[in-house]
Symmetry: C2
Subunit: 275 residues, 2 copies
């Protein structure tokens, strides 16, 4: 998928919501545990209930790997289900990978070819040759960690180096890499005031924004500082939507929560773009 | 496994060699491709041929994930094979994971519980709460990236921050984390002269050292600066051993290469510890 197609979908749905799929057997409705593949059944119900309100889905690979081969099969079924039924959705493998060049090539193959995701998240610590193998894939997107939503972000990401914070250095440096137009960045919603500075460095890039909902970030603040003239934001919410209810009405409740976020997004888009 | 058990195995085998399992269908002997599970057959043959010369095995998860569910099944079979037949081996899931707390907990569950590895590699970029969930597992080890063996290591890891290089800051900070005694660190062999400074910060920790062999690092240099009085090194070699031959003699040739490294290690251990 191209960023232009993503942009068009955002305008059409009046939404830049990405739903995070973090399927945890201990948190999902008990009646699903009796099915053959609870993780897939859970994801499918959430996707069906929210697909007209969301522009993307972000399965978090950890929540599948924790269940071994069965979990990996659920991941495969989930991405296949989205690609077959809702091909307009932007899909993100939230995998936070990154390794030396020949290894990163294998990860890129895993997520872009074998599983056919539109994008994958990567960590920047190992530098250029750990990210460029992902960037080599046409119409695929590499979403690199810049400033994350957790407390530990302040351990290293905000340290000052060369007169600027590390995460800004990461943004600057990544712009010089081959095929850097295929980069997007993770910037946590819990740090809304940082978006203004970030937009000075990467004015045109899409930013994937976790931290709305359970982690407490503010959507309006993020948009105030982070939105560009092509919207340029994908705001992720997982727990607040997918675990809105533990009952048989979980999908309905998930839709209600997703609708609240979408409506807030629609208001923001209307006031900003007069659409 | 405890570090004490690892240390005893090193003295007994006179080896601190870890064999990297990076199974690539395009590089392995063609006759294996006709078997039902070429990746597992390849790994099994390499393990059988080298297990008395090595103290650990490091499957690189990317090379399994690239083949999807079938690859993940090969990974499961490989770790089960080692645990059942050679339980003395120190096993490393080279996965370079790391995410916010609840996600890292799921990764820890995947590698420490579901697959039952002794250790897993993690990336430090997201800080304390992305690593501590791994450290919470008793007698399991978390091997954090400090200074890697690739060219991209110089993009961010060696930037100066607070008057010291980032990788040194990573080492220092990690010592303050809960259960930090379960930490080991990745330090690339291609940067042997850095080991002296690293040992000033983490004198007692085990260091996992990639970059010997195909990547060109020198074993004697690494030992000169990096060895401590408990050895404290696990030196990894993958391609130079596992792809020593593409013929039906690949396991035999792998053993020959492993033996060369083990003999060099034995000499070093003898001269250093008069064992």
């Amino acid at each position: 998928m191209t960023t232009q197609q993503l942009h068009e979908q955002i305008l059409q749905k009046k939404s830049f919501l990405c739903v995070g799929l973090d399927p945890d057997l201990t948190k999902m409705p008990p009646h699903l545990l009796e099915t053959e593949d609870p993780i897939f059944e859970f994801n499918k119900a959430i996707i069906d209930a929210t697909q007209d309100l969301a522009v993307g889905y972000k399965p978090n690979t950890a929540f599948f790997e924790a269940y071994g081969i069965k979990g990996w099969m659920s991941l495969q079924k989930t991405i296949n289900y989205i690609n077959e039924n809702f091909p307009e959705q932007f899909t993100i493998a939230d995998a936070k990978r990154g390794d030396i060049g020949n290894t990163s090539s294998m990860y890129a193959k895993a997520f872009f070819e074998d599983l056919n995701f539109d994008s994958v998240t990567v960590a920047p610590y190992m530098g250029k040759d750990s990210v460029e193998p992902f960037l080599a894939f046409e119409n695929k997107h590499t979403i690199m960690l810049a400033l994350t939503s957790n407390e530990g972000a302040f351990d290293f990401q905000t340290l000052t180096t060369n007169g600027t914070e590390l995460y800004k250095q990461v943004l600057e440096t990544s712009k010089t890499w081959k095929n850097s137009e295929n980069l997007m960045y993770v910037v946590g919603a819990t740090k809304a005031e940082y978006f203004a500075d970030i937009r000075k460095i990467v004015p045109d890039s899409f930013l994937l924004v976790p931290g709305i909902g359970a982690q407490g970030g503010s959507l309006s603040e993020v948009c105030k500082y982070g939105m560009n003239d092509k919207v340029g934001l994908l705001v992720n919410s997982a727990r607040a939507i997918i675990y809105a209810s533990k009952g048989t009405d979980f999908a309905e409740k998930a839709r209600e929560e997703a609708l609240k976020v979408q409506q807030e997004m629609e208001e923001i888009l209307n006031s900003r773009f007069q659409v």
